[in-house]
Symmetry: C2
Subunit: 473 residues, 2 copies
């Protein structure tokens, strides 16, 4: 940690800045297993906080956790055609158990639709068995060639909800309910103003009827897909032969959803809020909300430190005391690289005035509080920081959303300005592909609440959709 200052500037080399921050803030480390990363205690603590909040939200909306097998036999994997085409190129195949060659090779789950379908076929018999609202927290595997911490990895920690419903409408409602739970979570806890919307046919999940995504814009204007919620209709259910007896004693097919978020959200936390000094964590998700740095070792400082710790404990505010024998300057830099929302400096001079100094990580502003009401002040301050971080991210995001009516306008923006471009589209994949080929920009999601313009930005024919384009991680 003697090198906490050696972070590449965000505006100099964003990719290098990202790598510097994830490693210097000790979120992850590289392992000697190619394509796999190690999530270090501080990074894992962020994930645990995410899990805690989301798991509560899932349970409050009636979902239950289960654990399905991590292996999928090839024959089971092959049942839904579109799905297998989407995933087959990137699965890891187990072919030996001990010294014995397996009769049938099995893959490590890249996602668990087929496992849930196989199970639902067994347990759903009657309308009384519906809905089934299952979720699991687990690790999935996708055999990526190039990897980046939290963004692209062979092993991904995530949750996947898989639900079955009596009617298409119920399943569609569930799809949107979970999308909005994710949106809520990301706005309120991560401080990230996500754009939510439906994906185009080309960009939807293999096997879904509709995919909705949460699109976060990173500091560099590039999109990070921060979660998805899929409506499957009865496609998987039909492929797997899942049926139930409805109230009229008729054999019918149920309707399905799935939805998931991953440790990728940690990547977006870093790239939305981080700065040249390192990580900046929103108080609502930070594993350590306040770091206390005593200056010197006088009795007064020691006593004040103990006092404040007691107060923080009472209010259940997570904290850490850095009383190591490093210099204050070093400790300040370390607190900044780790992104603790506030650092509390307890020094002898301040104490003479019954004060302590609090430094906000988001603005680096220094504030003096009277020692007797530090904790009340802190509770307000955390709210302010949380709101400020969201507002700042929203402002930056909105300043990097452009509109284009013509291909020339689109070209000018795409070639000169990072960010998203709002435009109009006929709906033809040919146009979507041309934009992708010309600018490496994919459609992000459709915009439902804005009037569609007259002409497709690409072919000039009648426009039927309004949508965002943007480059992506």
């Amino acid at each position: 940690m003697s090198d906490v200052k050696d972070i590449t500037g965000r505006d100099i080399d964003f990719a290098k800045w990202y790598t510097d921050v994830v490693t210097k803030a000790q979120l992850v480390d590289y392992s000697s297993v190619k394509g796999s990363m190690i999530i270090c205690p501080y990074g894992y603590a962020i994930w645990e906080n995410m899990q805690k909040v989301l798991d509560k939200m899932f349970k409050e909306t009636g979902h239950e956790n289960v654990q399905m097998p991590m292996f999928i036999p090839e024959s089971l994997f092959n049942i839904e055609k579109e799905h297998v085409e989407g995933f087959a190129p990137e699965v890891a195949w187990v072919t030996y158990g001990g010294k014995e060659k397996l009769d049938e090779r099995i893959c490590v789950r890249p996602t668990s639709e087929v496992l849930f379908c196989d199970y639902y076929k067994k347990i759903i018999k009657s309308y009384r068995d519906l809905p089934k609202l299952y979720n699991q927290w687990c690790t999935i595997v996708r055999w990526e060639k190039t990897t980046r911490p939290f963004l692209r990895s062979r092993e991904i920690l995530w949750q996947e909800g898989h639900t079955m419903h009596a009617t298409a409408m119920e399943a569609q409602e569930e799809t949107l309910r979970m999308l909005h739970i994710y949106e809520d979570f990301q706005r309120k806890y991560l401080g990230i103003p996500v754009i939510v919307g439906k994906k185009t046919e080309k960009e939807k999940f293999s096997g879904a009827i509709a995919t909705y995504s949460l699109e976060a814009m990173m500091y560099d204007g590039v999109a990070l897909q921060n979660g998805t919620s899929h409506y499957f209709g009865d496609g998987f259910a039909k492929a797997f032969g899942i049926t139930y007896l409805d109230k009229n004693n008729k054999l019918v097919t149920p309707f399905q959803t799935s939805w998931g978020v991953t440790t990728r959200m940690i990547g977006s936390l870093i790239m939305v809020h981080g700065d040249d000094r390192g990580l900046v964590l929103p108080p609502n998700i930070a594993p350590i909300k306040a770091v206390i740095i005593p200056i010197g070792d006088s009795e007064d400082v020691k006593k004040a430190t103990v006092d404040i710790v007691e107060q923080l404990k009472l209010k259940n505010i997570s904290y850490k005391v850095d009383d190591s024998n490093k210099t204050p300057g070093f400790k300040f830099a370390e607190a900044e690289v780790k992104g603790y929302p506030v650092r509390i400096e307890i020094g002898p001079r301040d104490l003479e005035n019954s004060e302590i100094t609090v430094v906000r990580r988001d603005t680096l502003e220094k504030i003096k509080y009277n020692i007797n009401n530090v904790v009340e002040e802190l509770e307000n301050l955390f709210m302010n920081i949380q709101n400020n971080m969201y507002d700042k991210a929203l402002k930056r995001r909105d300043s990097m959303i452009y509109e284009a009516e013509t291909y020339q306008e689109f070209t000018e923006i795409a070639n000169s300005k990072p960010g998203f471009i709002k435009t109009n589209w006929c709906g033809d994949e040919v146009c979507e592909n041309k934009i992708k080929d010309d600018f490496s920009m994919k459609s992000r999601c459709l915009i439902e609440d804005e009037k569609v313009g007259d002409k497709c930005v690409c072919c000039g024919k009648k426009a039927n959709y309004r949508l965002y384009f943007g480059r992506q991680y």
Copy 2:
């Protein structure tokens, strides 16, 4: 669930009884993936409770959670000789990523010693970096031929702690600290009076210097190893070349431990406490402490139900209201098979006397409580149930522990009575093997606090150890 009564008698066919209970209480279900089970919501909720309590105990003793890769390249796996010999026959090998054959095959972790060592080699440089107290919650894979829910499975949910220490003594202390945390947890929460002790050389973990285990005795007298804590010395550290600069600037090798418990503990909960009506869960670990069954649908009953629910919520007691349209008799049977610690029957006749009926699952005793102090009474009752379950298990266990001085005595007990046999042993593996061959009984663990007898039960030479033998799951 119309067949909740069809549970095989415990004393008729214990193996069938076990399978009936795990499936009818809906803890697990069979999947069409051979060797893997599905952990259903109710079973997973028990695991979540176990995780919550243990994770808190780990963190309170300074441990931090991390996440290591799930894959181990063959060359890394092969570094520690004894370890690889122990695990190689039962690992799953990945040989293809997508369509490409891998240059080096990789196995799915059967345990993560080598991954932690590989990482510790990288991050431990100085005495200031010690101790490292890491834990991870994850799934491991062992390619078992025969499987039984929670007891033996190809996929195992567990936690594995891996720690590194400056001195052998610190590492030995850690090994015992974690053993006793497990013991505490299993006694206080699971109500299981585990026997803890050191394994013999033959039974210790591949690569360990000492293995300590928690041996629980099931209802049928068979042992279930409910967790282990290992002291590794510096064996792995030397094999992996892990060294650090001590306070005298000398390059030395650190000392290591590992420790783990798995979903197997759910199996022991079932087999220690269950009865012919199904599961019996100790209140301290039950996902639902009380099920409320309203009898009839009079306004009084409805009002009383709402009242009690409010009181339970205030006291944070987990509950479930069964107001489905099944018959009360069916609901009672279902509550019994699920093992809810108490069921609360709210009926019109009781209410006339301002009473409700509470039925203890452990004794099936019916108790009337005044409706105004149900919750206070319940809190005491849960404590009583918890204590009673522990005492009952302890009594049964102790009634099935025998002593043998001679091989003839040993033979008579082993052939006629289920349970553990305490005896004396010279320490020679030949004797240990003979007992195993003759009676399918393995040594469970050494007894430290009892005087060793004169002669080895097997060869008659001088005895050096006192220990338990027992059959095992």
